[in-house]
C-alpha cells in the first residue's frame, strides 16, 4: 500500500482524510485506486480526457513525478505520494481546455456534492478569452 497525502482543497472529497493508504504498483495505479475509492475527487484530479489535471503536481517521496517516469513510476510499501496544486501554470493549452470544458459542460454537476456551499460555482459563464495588450 502507498500512502497518499491529500491537500485541504481535496479533502472534501475524502471525508476530511489527510492520508489514505491505497494499492497500486505505479503512481498511475495508486491514483486510479484513489479515484475508485473516492469518486468525488475525480473532477479535480482528472481532466475531461481522464488524464491527470495539469494543475495538479504529484510528488513521490518529495520528487516531482515529472522528473521520474510520470504515472508509470513504480510505487512500493514505504512510498508516499503528495498531491499539491501547481498554484498557477495557467493557460498553455488554454484553448484546448476551453473546447473540452464547453463539451463537458452538460455533465458538469452544478451542485457538486463535493463542494461546500461557499465553494459552489457562482458563475456559469464559459471560460472567456483573455487578450493581453500585446
Amino acid at each position: 500500500m502507498t500512502t497518499v497525502r491529500i491537500p485541504p482543497v481535496l479533502r472534501q472529497a475524502t471525508e476530511g482524510a489527510k492520508r489514505i493508504e491505497l494499492p497500486g504498483a505505479t503512481v498511475g495505479e495508486v491514483l486510479a485506486s484513489l479515484v475508485a475509492s473516492h469518486p468525488a475527487i475525480a473532477p479535480q484530479l482528472l481532466d475531461g480526457a481522464g488524464e491527470l489535471n495539469r494543475f495538479v503536481n504529484v510528488f513521490l517521496n518529495e520528487t516531482d513525478i515529472r522528473h521520474l517516469k510520470a504515472l508509470e513510476t513504480p510505487t512500493g510499501e514505504q512510498d508516499t505520494l503528495i498531491l499539491l496544486p501547481a498554484m498557477a501554470g495557467g493557460a498553455g493549452d488554454y484553448r484546448r481546455r476551453r473546447r473540452r470544458r464547453a463539451a463537458d459542460a452538460d455533465q458538469m454537476p452544478r451542485s457538486d456534492a463535493s463542494m461546500a456551499p461557499a465553494d459552489r460555482p457562482t458563475a456559469g459563464s464559459p471560460p472567456a478569452r483573455r487578450s493581453g495588450s500585446c
Partner: protein
C-alpha cells in the same frame, strides 16, 4: 437566467451572477467587511469559477490558478491621470487598481522608482531608446517589495498571525522588511545554498530564516503544505493571487513615466513568470480604463541558461515547458525549475511576438558590469540576465530599429556581490581585472608609482 457579458480587461465576465457574500475561506482571520465594489473577488483563470477574496489560491473546482477580478468600468470612472498625478509617490497612488480597500495605515515606501534614459548602455546594445526601470532602490532593494506591500496590507486587514514565504532570496528580504514594518512575525523558507548576503538581509529585519536542504522547488513544495496547515499568510502561496497584483505597479509606473503611454518592448526576467504576466495584464488594464492608448507591446523574457524551462520551450516550439530538476546558475533569484506561471507566460510571449532568451552566466556577469559601468546602476544577477536578453533580442530582431525599450532592473547588485566576477580572472577581493588595486604602502610615492606603472 439571462446572461449579460461585459467586456472588462479583455476578459468576458458574467455579471449576471455576482460573487457570493459569504466571508472568505478562513473567515475567522478576516475582520474586514465586504470587499470594495471595484474589487469583485477572485476568479479561476481556467474555468472562470468565482470566489470571494481570502486566503485561497486554488480553484476548488478545477485546481486552476486564481486571479483578482476588478470592475474596470467602475475604476475607469474613479481615476484619471490628474487624480493619480496629484498623489504622493509610491504604489498607493494607483490605489483604485490594487486589491486593497484603502491606503494601509502602515507600509514601507515602495515604488515610484526612477525610469532612467540609458543612452550609453543603449548605444552599446544598438538600442536607440532604452529605459531602465530601476527597482534596485526599493526598500529591500528589489521589486518584490511591491507585491509584498499588498500581502502585508491584507495580512493586517485580515489579522493574520504571521507573514511567510518560499524565497529565492529577494522575496525573503521583502517579506521580512514588510513584516517588520507592520509588526508581524516573518518566517522565510529558502534553499540552504542561497547567497549569504540575502540570508543576512532577511535576518537583519528580524525574520526567522529556515534553510531547507533542497532546491527552490523543494522549498516551494514544503511551503505549499505548510501554508495549508499553518494559516500563516504565505505571500507567494496562499496570498499569491493578491500579492502578484502588486507587480502591476511596475507597468503603471512605466506608463506614467513615459507620459501615459506604453513602450514598444519590455524586457523582463522570468523566475516564476508572474512578473511578466502581471506586466502584460497591467498595461492591458491601463488601456481598458483609458489611462493609455492600447498599443501592441512585445515582451522579451529573460532566463539563465542553467535554468531556462520557459526559454527552452519557446525556442523549441514546445507546447509545454519541461521542468528543470537541478538548476545550475549564478542567477539564484531566477533558479526556479518549475515556474508556476511558466506555461502562462510562454503563451503570452508567443502571442505578442516577443521572445524568451536563455543567457549564459558569463554573459550575465558581463551585463552586470556594463550596466554598472555605463549607467551607474548596480543590478543583481537578474538585472544582468535581463540586459543580456535585451542584447540577444536585438540581435534576433525582436527589438527593431527605433524601438522604445524598457528593461527591468529588479534587484540590487549588493545582494549578489560575487556575481560580477564570473568570467574575470580576478575573483572577489582579489586585485586585478575587476579594478581592485593591490594593497599599497600608505605613501604618496607608492601610489604615484603604481599609477605610473598602470598607464
Amino acid at each position: 437566467m439571462t446572461t449579460t457579458l461585459v467586456q472588462t480587461a479583455g476578459t468576458l465576465v458574467d455579471h449576471s451572477a455576482e460573487p457570493p457574500t459569504e466571508p472568505p475561506a478562513h473567515s475567522s482571520a478576516v475582520s474586514s467587511p465586504a470587499t470594495s465594489s471595484r474589487v469583485l473577488g477572485l476568479i479561476c483563470r481556467s474555468c472562470r469559477l468565482e470566489q470571494p477574496l481570502g486566503l485561497r489560491y486554488v480553484c476548488p473546482h478545477c485546481f486552476g490558478p486564481l486571479q483578482v477580478r476588478y470592475d474596470l468600468k467602475l475604476i475607469a470612472e474613479l481615476v484619471d491621470r490628474s487624480v493619480i498625478e496629484s498623489r504622493p509617490p509610491g504604489i498607493w497612488r494607483y490605489l483604485e487598481l490594487l486589491p486593497v480597500e484603502r491606503v494601509p495605515r502602515r507600509s514601507l515606501a515602495v515604488g515610484s522608482t526612477p525610469l532612467i534614459a540609458a543612452e550609453r548602455l543603449g548605444a552599446s546594445l544598438g538600442i536607440d531608446r532604452l529605459w531602465l526601470k530601476d527597482d534596485t532602490r526599493n526598500p529591500s532593494l528589489s521589486f518584490k517589495d511591491r507585491a509584498v506591500a499588498i500581502a502585508a496590507a491584507l495580512a493586517m486587514d485580515w489579522e493574520l498571525p504571521a507573514l511567510a514565504c518560499a524565497s529565492t532570496g529577494n522575496l525573503a528580504a521583502a517579506t521580512a522588511a514588510a513584516a517588520a514594518g507592520v509588526g508581524l512575525p516573518a518566517y522565510v523558507f529558502i534553499p540552504a545554498d542561497l547567497e549569504r548576503a540575502k540570508i543576512e538581509h532577511a535576518l537583519a529585519y528580524g525574520a526567522t530564516v529556515v534553510p531547507l536542504d533542497g532546491t527552490y522547488d523543494d522549498v516551494n513544495r514544503v511551503c505549499i503544505e505548510l501554508a495549508d496547515e499553518t494559516g500563516w499568510g504565505f505571500v507567494n502561496i496562499n496570498l499569491r493571487p493578491l500579492y502578484t497584483e502588486g507587480s502591476r505597479t511596475v507597468a503603471f509606473e512605466i506608463a506614467e513615466g513615459l507620459g501615459w503611454r506604453s513602450p514598444d518592448v519590455v524586457v523582463v526576467p522570468i523566475g516564476s513568470g508572474a512578473l511578466l504576466g502581471k506586466l502584460v495584464q497591467g498595461f492591458d488594464e491601463l488601456a481598458t480604463v483609458g489611462l493609455i492608448a492600447r498599443r501592441p507591446i512585445r515582451f522579451v523574457g529573460a532566463q539563465a541558461a542553467g535554468c531556462a524551462p520557459v526559454a527552452d520551450a519557446w525556442s523549441t516550439g514546445a507546447a509545454e515547458m519541461v521542468p528543470v530538476r537541478r538548476p545550475n546558475t549564478i542567477v539564484r533569484s531566477l533558479a526556479i525549475g518549475s515556474p508556476a506561471d511558466g506555461s502562462h507566460v510562454l503563451r503570452l510571449v508567443r502571442e505578442c511576438g516577443g521572445s524568451v532568451e536563455a543567457i549564459a552566466d558569463a554573459n550575465t556577469a558581463a551585463a552586470i558590469r556594463d550596466v554598472a559601468a555605463l549607467e551607474g546602476i548596480y543590478p543583481e544577477t537578474a538585472g544582468g540576465v535581463t540586459l543580456a536578453a535585451a542584447r540577444a533580442a536585438r540581435e534576433r530582431g525582436i527589438i527593431r530599429d527605433g524601438d522604445e525599450v524598457v528593461a527591468l532592473l529588479t534587484g540590487n547588485g549588493l545582494k549578489t556581490p560575487d556575481a560580477r566576477h564570473v568570467g574575470l580572472r580576478a575573483g572577489p577581493g582579489e586585485p586585478g581585472e575587476g579594478g581592485l588595486a593591490p594593497v599599497l604602502p600608505a605613501t604618496f610615492d607608492a601610489v604615484e608609482s603604481w599609477l605610473e606603472g598602470r598607464s
